[in-house]
Amino acid sequence: MEINYGKEYIYDSADLDRHEGRVIEDLKAGSRVSIPDPDAWLEEGRRNILLTSVDAIIDWARRSSLWPAICFPACCAFEFIAANGPRFDLSRFGMEILRASPRQADLMITAGTLTWKMAPNVRRIYDQMPEPKWVIAMGACGISGGIFRSSYNVVPGYNKILPVDVYVPGCPPRPEALIYGIQLLQKKIAKAHAVPDLPKLPEIPRL
């Protein structure tokens, strides 16, 4: 019955636990204020009207092949699965491919409640996604923590740890609502300037 706990690894498991605790405390301490939504470049676009055919092509390509990363911490995932199924058929919008590797994804749909224990991992998935990348906060928990907002271990909104582009309310949102949110995001992407440098994104506390 003897189980050898944590001895077969390179790192001592107690050290790993303490490290994890420090990471979570740091993330929590650095997440008091919501990260502003990354739409400063929309304003920029309005000032310098410079629409090129390259922009049009690149934006069209980007918005027509949004590949979501598989990162669904809670129950809104089922609504996403429904949206991805044959009845609602997300493939119509070019996003039927769910990417298990965040390195091949450019959209994160934050479906569900996020606990602080899980937060560093979600943050890490986001950091591993290549630019340009977008985030849809799906559901009440994704927007503000929902009914769990006052809990001791729930992140009060994904925008505390990630910059969020589109918020889709609901508990959970219907697949139609999610599809509408995705269409809004596609409209937003259509306005992006692919050619000039994007303005500097807000500073995000690094882990």
Partner: protein, 147 residues
Amino acid sequence: MTVALPAGEIAGKLETKFPGCFEEGGKDNLLVKADSLLDVAAFLKDQPDLKFDYLNYVTAVDYYAYFEIVYQLTSLEHNRSIVFRTRAYGRDNPTMPSVTGLWRGADFQEREIFDLFGVAFTGHPNLKRIFLWEGFQGHPLRKDWNG
């Protein structure tokens, strides 16, 4: 359907085998003293006519004056189940013997109780927080916890 074993049926047997193993007035609902918990648990597990070989759950309740640890066992052989309880006194450092040596499944559940109630299980092979992170202050399921 698994039948719940009446407490009266087993209490007399335990009382004769381990005199004084029950708390005051605890004979009717199998409220075992923490000192004799391991003896009683081993007896329930190993006795051929009881053979409670499966631990359904370990959980805890905060009653301010003490923490009550609740165990439910099932005998897969006799198709019987039983619930018995113990008390861990004190709020600063309540302790309770671990039953992981008898039922391996108690491992994570005792860690959960340790995490959320702060009851330390002596003899547990890997007693550390399971849901919350290292460095979290307090134990959230305690009645007097304010987060």
